[in-house]
Protein backbone atom coordinates (compact mmCIF):
# COMPACT_ATOMS: atom_id res chain seq x y z
CA UNK A 1 0.00 0.00 0.00
CA UNK A 2 1.35 3.39 -0.98
CA UNK A 3 1.55 6.22 1.54
CA UNK A 4 -0.42 9.40 1.01
CA UNK A 5 2.66 11.50 1.58
CA UNK A 6 5.96 11.38 -0.27
CA UNK A 7 8.86 9.86 1.70
CA UNK A 8 10.64 13.20 2.08
CA UNK A 9 7.55 14.72 3.70
CA UNK A 10 7.35 11.86 6.14
CA UNK A 11 10.99 12.40 7.05
CA UNK A 12 10.45 16.12 7.58
CA UNK A 13 7.38 15.53 9.71
CA UNK A 14 9.31 12.92 11.68
CA UNK A 15 12.13 15.32 12.41
CA UNK A 16 9.70 18.02 13.49
CA UNK A 17 7.81 15.57 15.69
CA UNK A 18 10.95 14.26 17.36
CA UNK A 19 12.18 17.83 17.93
CA UNK A 20 8.92 18.76 19.60
CA UNK A 21 8.95 15.67 21.82
CA UNK A 22 12.58 16.36 22.83
CA UNK A 23 11.81 19.99 23.62
CA UNK A 24 8.78 19.09 25.73
CA UNK A 25 10.74 16.39 27.59
CA UNK A 26 13.66 18.73 28.29
CA UNK A 27 11.34 21.45 29.56
CA UNK A 28 9.55 19.02 31.87
CA UNK A 29 12.83 17.70 33.24
CA UNK A 30 14.29 21.15 33.85
CA UNK A 31 11.36 22.59 35.78
CA UNK A 32 11.36 21.58 39.43
CA UNK A 33 8.12 21.58 41.31
CA UNK A 34 7.82 24.20 43.98
CA UNK A 35 5.35 24.37 46.83
CA UNK A 36 4.70 27.60 48.67
CA UNK A 37 4.05 26.89 52.29
CA UNK A 38 3.40 30.22 53.89
CA UNK A 39 2.70 33.83 53.18
CA UNK A 40 1.85 36.36 55.87
CA UNK A 41 2.60 37.18 59.49
CA UNK A 42 4.18 34.51 61.66
CA UNK A 43 4.22 35.47 65.33
CA UNK A 44 7.17 34.87 67.63
CA UNK A 45 8.15 31.28 68.36
CA UNK A 46 5.52 29.92 66.01
CA UNK A 47 5.90 27.47 63.18
CA UNK A 48 3.80 26.91 60.11
CA UNK A 49 3.87 24.11 57.62
CA UNK A 50 2.36 22.92 54.41
CA UNK A 51 -0.67 20.64 54.51
CA UNK A 52 0.63 18.41 51.78
CA UNK A 53 3.46 15.95 51.86
CA UNK A 54 6.05 15.99 49.13
CA UNK A 55 8.74 13.58 48.08
CA UNK A 56 12.42 14.39 48.49
CA UNK A 57 12.47 18.19 48.50
CA UNK A 58 15.87 19.60 47.66
CA UNK A 59 15.68 22.78 49.73
CA UNK A 60 13.52 25.08 51.80
CA UNK A 61 13.73 28.82 51.40
CA UNK A 62 12.26 31.85 53.12
CA UNK A 63 12.32 35.57 52.50
CA UNK A 64 11.55 37.46 55.67
CA UNK A 65 12.13 40.80 57.37
CA UNK A 66 12.99 39.00 60.60
CA UNK A 67 14.84 35.85 61.47
CA UNK A 68 13.22 32.64 60.31
CA UNK A 69 14.39 29.08 59.88
CA UNK A 70 13.15 27.56 56.62
CA UNK A 71 13.07 23.88 57.24
CA UNK A 72 11.40 20.50 56.78
CA UNK A 73 9.10 18.43 58.92
CA UNK A 74 8.08 14.82 58.77
CA UNK A 75 5.47 14.68 61.52
CA UNK A 76 3.51 17.94 61.41
CA UNK A 77 4.04 18.13 65.17
CA UNK A 78 5.91 21.23 66.21
CA UNK A 79 7.90 21.32 62.98
CA UNK A 80 11.17 22.44 64.41
CA UNK A 81 11.33 20.62 67.71
CA UNK A 82 10.18 17.05 67.35
CA UNK A 83 11.65 15.78 64.15
CA UNK A 84 14.71 13.83 63.12
CA UNK A 85 17.98 15.53 62.47
CA UNK A 86 16.96 17.55 59.44
CA UNK A 87 16.56 20.54 61.75
CA UNK A 88 19.80 19.92 63.51
CA UNK A 89 21.53 21.09 60.38
CA UNK A 90 19.10 23.85 59.45
CA UNK A 91 20.35 27.39 59.52
CA UNK A 92 18.35 30.54 60.05
CA UNK A 93 18.66 34.08 58.81
CA UNK A 94 16.99 37.37 57.96
CA UNK A 95 16.21 38.07 54.33
CA UNK A 96 16.54 35.32 51.77
CA UNK A 97 17.63 32.13 53.48
CA UNK A 98 18.00 28.65 52.02
CA UNK A 99 18.42 25.35 53.79
CA UNK A 100 19.28 22.42 51.51
CA UNK A 101 18.06 18.96 52.40
CA UNK A 102 20.53 17.05 54.53
CA UNK A 103 20.47 13.88 52.48
CA UNK A 104 17.51 12.07 51.02
CA UNK A 105 14.39 13.01 52.93
CA UNK A 106 11.53 10.92 51.59
CA UNK A 107 8.05 12.22 52.28
CA UNK A 108 8.15 15.51 54.15
CA UNK A 109 6.25 18.70 54.77
CA UNK A 110 7.74 22.11 54.22
CA UNK A 111 7.86 24.22 57.36
CA UNK A 112 8.99 27.61 58.52
CA UNK A 113 9.73 28.61 62.11
CA UNK A 114 10.10 32.09 63.55
CA UNK A 115 12.70 31.85 66.34
CA UNK A 116 12.29 35.48 67.42
CA UNK A 117 11.02 35.84 70.97
CA UNK A 118 9.04 39.02 70.46
CA UNK A 119 8.79 40.02 66.83
CA UNK A 120 6.32 38.91 64.21
CA UNK A 121 7.73 37.78 60.91
CA UNK A 122 6.35 39.04 57.68
CA UNK A 123 7.39 36.04 55.65
CA UNK A 124 6.94 37.26 52.12
CA UNK A 125 7.83 34.04 50.45
CA UNK A 126 8.55 30.67 51.91
CA UNK A 127 8.63 27.48 49.92
CA UNK A 128 10.44 24.32 49.22
CA UNK A 129 11.26 22.66 45.94
CA UNK A 130 11.28 18.98 45.07
Amino acid sequence: MQSFLPTSWVRVLGVVGVSLVMLISATAAASASTAHIFNGGLSAQRAYGSNERHTDPSYARSDSDHTVCPSFDVTMNGYVYRTPDYYQYAVCGTGETTTPAAGSMGLVHGAVFNPNTSTTDNVANSYFAY
Partner: protein
Protein backbone atom coordinates in the same frame (compact mmCIF):
# COMPACT_ATOMS: atom_id res chain seq x y z
CA UNK B 1 -0.71 16.94 -15.17
CA UNK B 2 1.81 19.75 -15.16
CA UNK B 3 -0.54 21.78 -13.00
CA UNK B 4 -0.85 18.94 -10.50
CA UNK B 5 2.93 18.53 -10.36
CA UNK B 6 3.37 22.29 -9.82
CA UNK B 7 0.83 22.19 -7.02
CA UNK B 8 2.58 19.22 -5.43
CA UNK B 9 5.95 20.92 -5.71
CA UNK B 10 4.76 24.18 -4.19
CA UNK B 11 2.95 22.28 -1.43
CA UNK B 12 6.11 20.33 -0.67
CA UNK B 13 8.17 23.53 -0.67
CA UNK B 14 5.65 25.12 1.67
CA UNK B 15 5.82 22.27 4.16
CA UNK B 16 9.60 22.03 3.92
CA UNK B 17 9.87 25.79 4.50
CA UNK B 18 7.47 25.66 7.41
CA UNK B 19 9.30 22.73 8.98
CA UNK B 20 12.63 24.51 8.58
CA UNK B 21 11.22 27.62 10.20
CA UNK B 22 9.82 25.58 13.08
CA UNK B 23 13.12 23.81 13.70
CA UNK B 24 14.99 27.13 13.48
CA UNK B 25 12.58 28.67 15.97
CA UNK B 26 13.04 25.76 18.35
CA UNK B 27 16.82 25.98 18.08
CA UNK B 28 16.73 29.74 18.63
CA UNK B 29 14.54 29.26 21.68
CA UNK B 30 16.91 26.71 23.17
CA UNK B 31 19.98 28.85 22.44
CA UNK B 32 18.40 32.04 23.80
CA UNK B 33 17.29 30.29 26.97
CA UNK B 34 20.78 28.90 27.47
CA UNK B 35 22.42 32.25 26.77
CA UNK B 36 20.23 34.18 29.20
CA UNK B 37 20.76 31.68 32.00
CA UNK B 38 24.53 31.62 31.68
CA UNK B 39 25.04 35.28 30.90
CA UNK B 40 25.39 36.57 34.45
CA UNK B 41 27.50 33.62 35.47
CA UNK B 42 29.96 34.20 32.65
CA UNK B 43 30.64 37.80 33.58
CA UNK B 44 34.30 37.63 34.65
CA UNK B 45 34.52 40.90 36.57
CA UNK B 46 31.13 41.06 38.23
CA UNK B 47 30.07 43.91 35.96
CA UNK B 48 26.55 42.56 35.97
CA UNK B 49 26.26 43.52 39.60
CA UNK B 50 24.19 46.58 40.38
CA UNK B 51 26.46 49.16 41.97
CA UNK B 52 24.26 50.76 44.62
CA UNK B 53 23.84 47.74 46.83
CA UNK B 54 26.58 46.50 49.18
CA UNK B 55 27.92 44.00 46.70
CA UNK B 56 31.68 43.64 46.23
CA UNK B 57 33.71 45.66 48.69
CA UNK B 58 34.25 42.26 50.24
CA UNK B 59 37.89 41.21 50.08
CA UNK B 60 37.07 37.62 49.21
CA UNK B 61 34.87 38.64 46.27
CA UNK B 62 37.42 41.10 44.96
CA UNK B 63 40.30 38.64 44.73
CA UNK B 64 40.97 36.37 41.74
CA UNK B 65 39.71 32.82 41.86
CA UNK B 66 41.97 30.04 43.11
CA UNK B 67 41.65 26.28 42.61
CA UNK B 68 40.34 25.99 46.19
CA UNK B 69 37.25 28.00 45.21
CA UNK B 70 35.99 25.14 43.09
CA UNK B 71 37.74 22.14 44.57
CA UNK B 72 36.19 18.77 45.32
CA UNK B 73 32.44 18.63 45.57
CA UNK B 74 31.93 22.39 45.80
CA UNK B 75 30.41 22.83 42.36
CA UNK B 76 27.94 20.04 42.93
CA UNK B 77 26.94 21.25 46.37
CA UNK B 78 26.43 24.80 45.16
CA UNK B 79 23.86 23.68 42.61
CA UNK B 80 21.04 23.54 45.13
CA UNK B 81 21.71 27.16 46.10
CA UNK B 82 21.77 28.19 42.46
CA UNK B 83 18.46 26.40 42.12
CA UNK B 84 16.92 28.24 45.07
CA UNK B 85 18.45 31.58 44.10
CA UNK B 86 18.94 31.98 40.35
CA UNK B 87 20.61 35.38 40.92
CA UNK B 88 23.62 33.64 42.45
CA UNK B 89 26.76 34.05 40.31
CA UNK B 90 28.04 30.57 40.95
CA UNK B 91 31.34 30.83 39.11
CA UNK B 92 32.36 33.79 41.27
CA UNK B 93 31.91 32.01 44.58
CA UNK B 94 34.94 32.33 46.83
CA UNK B 95 36.03 30.05 49.65
CA UNK B 96 36.73 32.20 52.72
CA UNK B 97 37.30 29.77 55.54
CA UNK B 98 37.44 26.05 56.06
CA UNK B 99 37.92 23.60 58.92
CA UNK B 100 36.95 20.02 59.68
CA UNK B 101 33.32 20.95 60.40
CA UNK B 102 32.47 23.43 57.68
CA UNK B 103 33.37 25.49 54.66
CA UNK B 104 32.37 29.17 54.49
CA UNK B 105 31.94 30.79 51.09
CA UNK B 106 30.84 34.15 49.76
CA UNK B 107 28.88 34.58 46.57
CA UNK B 108 27.86 37.68 44.63
CA UNK B 109 24.46 37.95 43.01
CA UNK B 110 23.56 39.44 39.69
CA UNK B 111 21.28 41.94 41.45
CA UNK B 112 24.03 43.28 43.70
CA UNK B 113 23.36 41.40 46.91
CA UNK B 114 25.92 39.18 48.60
CA UNK B 115 25.31 35.75 50.08
CA UNK B 116 27.18 33.72 52.66
CA UNK B 117 27.09 29.95 52.26
CA UNK B 118 28.08 27.54 55.00
CA UNK B 119 28.50 23.89 54.07
CA UNK B 120 28.64 21.21 56.73
CA UNK B 121 29.57 17.63 55.91
CA UNK B 122 25.81 17.15 55.91
CA UNK B 123 23.48 20.08 55.25
CA UNK B 124 24.30 23.73 55.61
CA UNK B 125 22.66 26.95 54.53
CA UNK B 126 22.79 30.24 52.69
CA UNK B 127 21.69 33.73 53.59
CA UNK B 128 21.77 36.84 51.43
CA UNK B 129 21.86 40.44 52.65
CA UNK B 130 18.50 41.32 51.11
CA UNK B 131 17.18 42.64 54.43
CA UNK B 132 19.91 45.26 54.84
CA UNK B 133 22.08 43.61 57.50
CA UNK B 134 25.15 41.50 56.91
CA UNK B 135 24.71 38.17 55.17
CA UNK B 136 24.83 35.69 58.03
CA UNK B 137 23.63 32.22 58.87
CA UNK B 138 22.77 31.41 62.45
CA UNK B 139 21.14 29.17 64.97
CA UNK B 140 20.65 29.48 68.73
CA UNK B 141 23.94 30.55 70.24
CA UNK B 142 26.01 30.95 67.06
CA UNK B 143 26.18 32.96 63.87
CA UNK B 144 28.68 33.46 61.07
CA UNK B 145 28.41 36.62 59.02
CA UNK B 146 30.40 38.55 56.44
CA UNK B 147 31.19 42.24 56.47
CA UNK B 148 32.71 44.58 53.87
CA UNK B 149 36.45 45.05 53.91
CA UNK B 150 36.08 48.59 55.30
CA UNK B 151 34.57 47.27 58.52
CA UNK B 152 37.27 46.89 61.13
CA UNK B 153 35.06 46.30 64.15
CA UNK B 154 31.53 45.07 64.88
CA UNK B 155 29.54 45.46 68.08
CA UNK B 156 27.48 42.68 69.59
CA UNK B 157 24.73 43.41 72.08
CA UNK B 158 24.47 40.62 74.65
CA UNK B 159 21.37 39.34 76.40
CA UNK B 160 22.44 40.95 79.71
CA UNK B 161 22.35 44.38 78.05
CA UNK B 162 26.11 44.80 77.73
CA UNK B 163 28.03 45.12 74.46
CA UNK B 164 31.22 43.61 73.16
CA UNK B 165 33.31 44.50 70.11
CA UNK B 166 34.94 42.01 67.80
CA UNK B 167 37.39 42.34 64.92
CA UNK B 168 36.43 40.56 61.67
CA UNK B 169 38.63 37.62 60.75
CA UNK B 170 39.20 37.41 57.01
CA UNK B 171 36.02 39.41 56.56
CA UNK B 172 33.97 37.04 58.71
CA UNK B 173 32.33 37.75 62.06
CA UNK B 174 31.44 35.16 64.69
CA UNK B 175 28.75 35.95 67.23
CA UNK B 176 29.18 35.21 70.93
CA UNK B 177 26.68 32.63 72.19
CA UNK B 178 24.73 35.21 74.18
CA UNK B 179 24.55 37.91 71.49
CA UNK B 180 21.12 39.28 70.62
CA UNK B 181 22.16 41.60 67.78
CA UNK B 182 25.14 42.81 65.78
CA UNK B 183 25.83 46.24 64.33
CA UNK B 184 28.62 47.96 62.42
CA UNK B 185 29.41 51.03 60.37
CA UNK B 186 30.72 50.56 56.84
CA UNK B 187 32.05 53.91 55.67
CA UNK B 188 29.13 55.75 57.18
CA UNK B 189 26.50 53.18 56.26
CA UNK B 190 25.16 51.58 59.39
CA UNK B 191 23.91 48.01 59.38
CA UNK B 192 22.48 45.78 62.05
CA UNK B 193 20.73 42.46 62.44
CA UNK B 194 19.07 40.41 65.14
CA UNK B 195 20.68 37.21 66.34
CA UNK B 196 19.52 34.12 68.20
CA UNK B 197 21.06 34.00 71.69
CA UNK B 198 21.53 30.64 73.29
CA UNK B 199 19.26 31.70 76.16
CA UNK B 200 16.31 31.84 73.75
CA UNK B 201 16.71 28.24 72.65
CA UNK B 202 13.57 26.26 73.48
CA UNK B 203 13.90 23.17 75.64
CA UNK B 204 14.51 19.97 73.74
CA UNK B 205 15.82 21.55 70.57
CA UNK B 206 19.07 20.06 69.34
CA UNK B 207 21.91 22.38 68.50
CA UNK B 208 24.04 20.60 65.92
CA UNK B 209 23.93 23.57 63.57
CA UNK B 210 24.90 25.96 66.37
CA UNK B 211 27.91 23.79 67.22
CA UNK B 212 28.95 23.71 63.59
CA UNK B 213 28.58 27.49 63.32
CA UNK B 214 30.65 28.32 66.40
CA UNK B 215 33.70 30.56 66.25
CA UNK B 216 37.06 28.93 65.36
Amino acid sequence: MLQTRTLLTSGRTFILGGASLLIAALLALVLLTHASSSDAASSPDGSKLAGARPALGYAALDRPATPADSAGDLAARLQVFAQSTPELVVNQVRLVSTNTDRRVLLAPRSDGYVCIIVLFAKGGGMNCNTAGGPPQVMNYGAAIGAVPTSVTSVTYKLDDGSTVSRTPQDGLIYAPADATSVSYDANGTKASADLMPKSAKPEGLGNTAATLLSAP
